[in-house]
Symmetry: D2
């Protein structure tokens, strides 16, 4: 499917996204870094790490979700106006293959931006020995939140 | 809805579930403990912790998912025969309220056990000042896996 | 889980829900009837019918979804203010057993009402020979829509 | 994302898919036709029709789901061995825009084939006045079923 181009409503969206990412302590726990920030598309990378694994030594599906949810959430955030914060309403993840690899790349893409509700898709890729494999896909619905004191951008 | 009663196929299911939980390094990262293990129902508890938060200071939705996915996965695991391991095929989470609170309780329940595919539901509750609030619900599909060398129970 | 009680914002919610249901031509195609309308809970019934089946003679999963989505949507609608319409943002259905039976009962329940976003759960039951069986569960997210000319209540 | 190429396990997959589609009475109720059948990809078309609408005159989300679920299910079916039938375990649909248009095109694509579990994605497009608009996306999990008397291909 050909992606439409998105026009950000805040020209400073990349810096604002990076600042918010820095405030997500969960991303430090994952060892995750924000690799690319485009209008409507965000890429996060993280290494395999023992403290994130389930009983078979793969990354726990929930840890994959954590990075994918941030990739989707920030993809939506890049298109938000300056005064809006973003909350995840729901997401669904399909785990296509065990999360084994040296590194992982999570890509979140807006497929439908909206004033209130934004829909994103995420893809998680495992990298090992120079090869990439799609290990999970996410569908994610975000809500723009304005004017709540405890939820700032 | 009235839950059917489940008959475990492995009488030692509780000990086996606890052993597997101990091997999930991700649960230690969450500070999560396995509270109750019944046939078809598992409860996990965890405290709020700064290293699991998103930018507003709530638990990251992915971290809530991590604990809920384990609660659902182990609920299914309690009904598995001895030789089977369990993998999450997919889950969907609805985030009903920000994950703020002192402690959190994640309950996974089997709603449809199966030889190959098992369906579970999860509920995440936030506890603060003696009150409990439902903050997330999960639908989760598991697959029993037998005879794969890299996936053991 | 114990359901909270809901206070409808429109005292005439039941009549209003019935009027909207009458305007869903898709419900007539299903042979569906609106059985119970409570604040935050709606029940729809429908018979098995050949023109709704898939290749094995069961009700098509999509037809089960159609009735369940209406049950969830109207459950949310009962709690809306007079001026609001409701749209489904997304739903997820788990098909627990083939949709075979004489009749089917779809129950939609609000689990989290909201000014903008409302979350519901649905259960589909098949009835045959005096017995009921849970055949599907749905998680459903609704959005209240106000002031769009082409979307009225 | 670049799609891998799929190798069908049954060289006669297209004819077999068309025969099964003919047996879905629900597809006739939708006025749906099977447009393209490739290994791992199926396209279904249908016109707008009054008897499939909800209260605003759009196609009911469940009717969109019905066609998308068949598109995904048959996409998976094209890759099945001769003796296998396919059942939908679960699907999730995001409704991106009201289902209004003259005609609709539903595309199902396999993203991960498997011996037991196959994962697909679906996209629903509305066509009006020569323009196409993405109105819904689906994630869908299928199970191959072999040797159950009441579930044949």
């Amino acid at each position: 499917m050909t992606l439409p181009l998105f026009e950000p409503r805040n020209p400073d969206f990349a810096a604002r996204t990076r600042q918010s990412f820095e405030r997500q302590a969960a991303m430090r726990t994952l060892g995750a870094t924000l690799e690319r920030v485009q209008a409507g598309r965000v890429e996060i990378a993280m290494p395999w790490a023992e403290h994130l694994t389930q009983q078979h030594g793969f990354l726990h599906a929930g840890m994959v979700s954590t990075a994918l949810d941030s990739a989707c959430g920030y993809a939506g955030f890049t298109l938000m106006p300056l005064e809006a914060a973003v909350l995840t309403i729901e997401f669904k993840i399909n785990l296509l293959a065990p999360a084994q690899g040296e590194r992982f790349r999570m890509v979140g893409t807006v497929i439908k931006p909206g004033r209130t509700v934004t829909v994103c898709e995420g893809q998680a890729w495992a990298m090992e020995g120079g090869r990439e494999k799609l290990i999970a896909t996410m569908g994610c619905t975000l809500m723009a939140v304005v004017g709540r004191d405890n939820i700032q951008s």
